[in-house]
Assembly symmetry: C2
Homo-oligomer: 298 residues x 2
């Protein structure tokens, strides 16, 4: 039992910074060698404040590494066809290497139709079923790996945490995090179990894990007693909980009870500052990969 | 402990017969209502004896339910282009609702190129990455589910074995059985773990399973002591082992030691006569589904 030791804190902010520096260097290299500037187009429909913030952050991140960012802001009452026209324009635009449709879309639009319209070669989100299928299949490779799960695995790599042969438990089976995270862990030869809302004994299964990736959206659900001593915890959850001491009246916590986990685990991501900063770094990386691929630049 | 009881034998042959009877009735119904006869085209390249046998069995099975079977036999030294030409012809032929390329192909051909050429609407094998992606994603549905894993789940359904909330362990992670079987179990709300060649403690994990699907190709690998009392076992393995008492000098056994499993499990598929007969039945069903879909027949 390692109850008295304290886990290593996996500093996602620092790793993301390092990756952004690497991307900056690569963006310079491709620009100098070929004149090509990687470009990311973001489509935002409506005026949700949170979505506007996410888009602004993506734009800023692009600028910070030298990636061109294009933006289409469409009004809430746009038609599906108008959105599809923008996608079609970006699909054909050789200066755009990645296209991202900010979700959620207004409810009168068919999300699937719109996402499927993005050319797979520019689907830097990696959510196209063809990409997911290739991710699931041995001997195949996706064009892009979804950003958040990719960021989780990247954190393990950067901290030299071996995955092969390890027991890994993914909590949550969403299309955007849990499911692709499980496929990625399996590609790295972990023995993977997926725990979800229908699992009858989550605690028992989670306690067997050497590596836990949690993406379930329930504040402090995983307690210290659910964690095998020495396990590594990647916490994707970002959940607001009341906090009278905070000026905003709330604070953000993960799916895993950090204060307890830190006493049992060997390494753990904080919330915020863990997986969060990695997602945008991986989006920039996918955009760079796309630009390199289309220009055969290595 | 249920050491003295004996497991129910899951009779795949009988279930497959029942399904073929249902398909026969449906094929008559669509033919009488619309004049459409479902058609399956099989492409066989070269003269491997085992492949020829499989193709012959598929042809016979089609005939037995009233499905039209078309066959292209190409010589071993055919070019990839010649095979692609046949696929293209079947892709365009409205009397063909399913296309199956018998594997393995001669080594001078690119299997991926050839399989990818089959129109997804006729990919009754269900191996196209787009189908696999949709199988993995919540809220999406594949056009076809791969035949062998579909047969495994169908056996569970027909024996009223509930899957939801159960611990399921899939042994093996092949593209054609293990991986899609795991995705199917998860779609049915099982808690799924995948055990493979890199798993350090397969025995321990397998012993937790309420449902075991094994597709690993190792004779009698799973012993009675690895099985939780009352578990259900679907054994996809078909492995030849020496048998001096057999006129052929060998017999076929599964991945699970049947004599031991029958004493511990609550239900178990025999080898042969378990999953085997289900695969072709599911192929016929996929062909029927395809014909119904293209003609909007319910």
């Amino acid at each position: 039992m390692a109850m008295d030791s304290s886990a290593k804190v996996i500093d996602g902010k620092a790793v993301a910074k390092q990756i952004r520096d690497e991307i900056t260097a690569e963006v310079s290299r491709i620009r100098e060698a070929t004149g090509v500037i990687p470009g990311l187009a973001v489509i935002l429909v409506g005026d949700r404040k949170d979505s506007a913030t996410y888009v602004r952050n993506k734009k800023k991140a692009c600028e910070s590494v030298g990636i061109n960012s294009l933006e289409a802001n469409l009004p809430e009452d746009s038609t599906e066809e108008e959105v599809l026209n923008y996608i079609s324009g970006y699909n054909d635009d050789p200066s755009v290497h990645g296209i991202l449709v900010q979700l959620p879309l207004p409810s009168h639009m068919n999300e699937q139709n719109i996402l499927n319209a993005v050319r797979i070669e520019k689907d830097v989100d990696g959510f196209h079923p063809l990409n997911i299928g290739r991710l699931a299949m041995r001997g195949r490779d996706p064009l892009f790996v979804p950003c958040t799960p990719k960021g989780c695995i990247e954190l393990l790599h950067r901290y030299n945490i071996s995955i092969k042969g390890k027991r890994a438990v993914v909590i949550g089976r969403s299309n955007i995090v849990g499911m692709p995270a499980a496929l990625l862990l399996q590609r790295e030869d972990a023995t993977v179990s997926i725990v979800h809302s229908r699992t009858s004994n989550p605690e028992e299964i989670i306690r067997q894990a050497d590596i836990i990736i949690s993406a379930v959206g329930k504040a402090n659900m995983v307690r210290g007693s659910w964690i095998k001593p020495g396990a590594v915890i990647i916490d994707v959850g970002i959940n607001p909980v009341d906090d009278p001491n905070s000026p905003r009246g709330y604070k953000l916590v993960g799916d895993v009870c950090y204060e307890e986990a830190i006493k049992v685990a060997s390494a753990v991501t904080p919330v915020p500052g863990g997986v969060g900063p990695m997602t945008i770094a991986m989006l920039l990386q996918n955009t760079l990969i796309s630009a390199k691929r289309v220009h055969n630049f290595e």
